[in-house]
Symmetry: C2
């Protein structure tokens, strides 16, 4: 049976803000319910801790350095193969419901004469998806206009529901009301404990859940649907009753250590000095923001419950794979940082729960798997679930199916993640050219090395003795061997086969010797070296060379 | 003045088979004439010592691992930018006259709905060139049919000139007549000393020279014309009078040493045991083949003279840059090897002579330059000659213009070359999967390291003490530091920025801070942190949320 695939992504959801992952105060029974039906991968890493780049890795199954869309707003090059290309070729539809953060390669499409109005062009412009609903969930606006140049189906929905504003996303869904009756924007952390000025059912998560149910009710399988929520990504504000479910008492102390501020790596120092980090270093920010973040997650969990009930009722639970994951985490003040971007676990490690309804997966239901999983693995997994052979000359991830079946495959020894901060002010502050503003993480399950281009020293953490990643062991001599070993892993990865995308391994094997049988014989002294049939075209009576009027 | 660019490539022309490069027996006054007018680069390396891969590096300005067409017959992925894309955008035409060895990415074009019948599709199918004449010069035929599926303009020409055969390329241009009156095919080295059964003027090199002159006579500039000869590539046979200009007395002893056969690197051992190498290890093969190879070069030189005279007469010498180079060399029995594929200088180093008619280049006329030049540099050079800024997020080479002007730019400290032998029988013989059949050369001007995937040791040569590259220093301990240093160069190259092709460095700089002015403000406690204009859209009286029928 080819199942459907419900590929659910949350945005900026930390791996440890779920009860199944051990959160002390946040109960997420519906995430836990999927975990109990499937496998929870406890060491899942994204290939870049930033929305756009990470998502392009999920959607292509390729590393950021391979597909090249290495930061938000860097277009995914035209022709780069995506889940849509792979799955449609196997007879599976591939749909988008929510956010991708993809920027179209308009120049590349123009070069190839592709119009976004055509079916092919439209898919190229939406990283391979057929769009049921696209809404990237950031309808921010400033003096230079809107951040997102697309239309917002969510804003249209709100307007149709009577929210009177040019941008109800900003004025209602992501704002409360202050004591003077003015807009209390969710952009300002001081307002994070206020309820968003919106009926809960009209807020983004329930709206998108309904979009997904409507999709599923009419969809003919097999389909892959990327249900991609905007939340719990900032702005940190949530409607009642979620806005006061949690309070300062539920805010864990920041995972940070003064040793981290002592001679920090220059790139880390730049981030610690950045505006976001400065904000999250204030206790009042954490105490306002984290309860709202937890409320957003709680709402996500409740809506996941709605979705699961719908799957049960409609029979889809029996034929639909469910994947729950996120594009990256959120520092929330840990390590003196806010947001994501760097490589501590709160930023680069994500939830990854996979439920496969088929009997082959019965053996692993409710278990965890601590293999080093990468976000690029999902594309490979989906291709295999759709009945295909993973095109490993294109997709760099590996199918997780063996793990779901209780097998123990040979597996990677290290995970890679990358971060390109060339478009940030930190690049300039550090005196770097854009091409040198790049970081690489190599993590082998214990040791985590971070290499920075631009002539800086690396960072090194030993998660066995320092699971909180407080102590950068590369500050001082003493770990040269580990550093060299991890650099060797990075070098091996750097030489990977990533662009030979037009010939599969099988096609190459089939090529061998083919030229010989097509007359390419640059080794013959007299022809006796090969069977006569190979040289037959080069033998015979010499033909007359001069005929007719030409001589 | 924007000059025209006559980009002349010979196929399989060794760097040292020119009199200006010191050949003891071969006089090439016309190559020397261009060298006397321009700069001869004495350390020019191709990015892959095999026709197809090397050419795709020339045409894209990118390394083989970057564009992915890593062997003959591996298609260049659709959308990969080429000289044609870059030069046409600058108002310069880009034309092909001869060989490219490019294979179209038919699957990729079909995915994007591109037809080879359209202008855009046709250019995609011809690696960016507009085709004046395309002829890859290998009209080989065996029991499985023709090696090349295209039509042969050259065969059509021969037929029009009265050569009666289905494949006059094989029966006339590349064959003589033996003593019994039978075809003496040029595929068989035993026949290399016979004259090809064709009028000299009808053989491939004069034919293509005339094609080029016809093109130039009608072309409106500025144009870049890739005049791409098939010769002196095998089959090794040449018409009179070139067939007996040289004889065994002109054949230099093979540059080889018994130390090379002592514990050779497994990949080298496989190649030394291959059919081509076995043939070239026979003195009789060298004595037959090398005089024919020299005759083919002599003919190329004479035809270059015809071309230069035409440029003089037509005035084009004053406004046309001339580049003379090759896609790789030819072992001719050196190092116990035949053909190319490996990384000794006879294979991977090429002639590179550049004449620039403009006064800025006067200072360097007739000089040599020993900077480490790579074939990818030509694309960058041409873009600059066409008046553009090198798009260094796409083109990985560097413009040679500073060298032509007598400047001494900061330059690369190492050259890279790669070889993918996955489609050869050697891959199977060595027990490798296709993805592991890859070699990388790092050469810093003195030390040459060759890394082989698949778990083998590296090779190391010191060209200062061993200019003939006989002694692989990695066979024994003693050079760990050099090896580690060169591996570090390779690792640095492996992390290069090669796929972020949709955003230039300048575009990235311009992005900085842009999201701030579009309302992305995830760091505000109360808004007082930024000028009021940035938060204006998030302030004001809270609007009424429930209106009309919706409440």
């Amino acid at each position: 049976m080819t199942p459907n695939i419900l590929f659910v992504m949350y945005d900026q959801l930390r791996f440890d803000y779920l009860s199944c992952a051990g959160h002390p105060h946040l109960d997420t029974p519906n995430f836990d319910r999927v975990a109990a039906m499937g496998v929870r991968f406890t060491n899942a890493y994204v290939q870049s801790p930033i929305c756009g780049a990470s998502r392009m890795c999920f959607y292509t199954g390729r590393y950021a350095s391979s597909h090249g869309a290495q930061w938000n707003g860097f277009p995914l090059r035209v022709g780069e193969q995506t889940l849509g290309d792979h799955l449609r070729a196997l007879g599976m539809g591939c749909w988008l419901i929510g956010k991708t953060h993809m920027r179209v390669d308009a120049e590349g499409m123009a070069r190839l004469g592709l119009s976004p109005d055509s079916e092919i062009g439209a898919r190229q412009a939406e990283c391979g998806f057929d769009v049921w609903t696209r809404d990237d969930g950031l309808w921010a606006e400033g003096p230079d206009g809107f951040y997102d140049r697309n239309r917002s189906p969510y804003n249209e929905y709100l307007k149709s529901r009577g929210y009177r504003s040019e941008n109800p996303w900003a004025d209602f869904a992501n704002a409360g009301i202050d004591d003077a009756g003015d807009i209390a924007s969710g952009w300002m952390f001081a307002h994070a404990d206020r309820p968003a000025n919106i009926r809960e059912e009209d807020s983004e998560t329930p709206w998108l859940t309904r979009e997904a149910m409507t999709f599923m009710d009419q969809a003919k399988g097999p389909w892959c649907a990327h249900l991609s929520y905007i939340k719990p990504h900032w702005p940190y504000i949530v409607p009642a009753p979620y806005h006061d479910m949690f309070g300062p008492a539920h805010v864990p102390p920041a995972t940070r250590h003064k040793a981290e501020r002592d001679d920090p790596h220059p790139v880390l120092a730049a981030y610690m000095a950045g505006r976001v980090a400065q904000a999250f270093q204030r206790d009042e920010v954490r105490q306002k923001v984290i309860p709202a973040y937890m409320g957003l997650i709680k709402q996500c969990d409740d809506q996941l419950g709605v979705l699961l009930d719908h799957l049960e009722r409609s029979g889809r639970m029996r034929d639909t794979v469910i994947v729950l994951t996120s594009d990256h985490g959120d520092y929330l003040g840990d390590h003196w940082l806010g947001e994501k971007d760097m490589f501590h676990d709160p930023s680069v490690k994500v939830p990854m729960i996979v439920y496969d309804p088929r009997p082959e997966a019965d053996a692993t239901r409710g278990t965890t798997c601590d293999a080093l999983v990468e976000s690029v693995d999902l594309a490979a997994t989906f291709v295999e679930m759709a009945g295909g052979k993973v095109p490993d000359h294109v997709i760099e991830g590996r199918s997780l199916l063996p793990w779901l079946r209780g097998e123990t495959p040979d597996w990677r020894d290290f995970a890679i993640s990358e971060y390109d901060f060339s478009a940030t002010p930190h690049c300039e502050a550090l005196g770097l050219e854009p091409r040198d503003a790049r970081l690489f993480m190599v993590f082998d399950g214990r040791w985590k090395l971070i290499h920075a281009e631009g002539g800086f020293r690396p960072m090194l953490f030993d998660l066995a003795t320092d699971p909180e990643e407080f102590h950068d062991l590369a500050k001082k001599p003493g770990h040269e061997a580990e550093i060299a070993r991890l650099y060797e892993c990075l070098a091996r990865w750097g030489r990977r086969l990533a662009q030979r995308v037009t010939r599969s391994e099988d096609q190459i094997k089939a090529m061998r010797g083919a030229s010989l049988r097509k007359g390419i014989l640059p080794f013959l002294f007299d022809g006796s070296e090969v069977p006569e049939e190979l040289t037959r075209k080069y033998r015979g009576k010499a033909p007359a060379r001069h005929v007719g009027k030409e001589e």
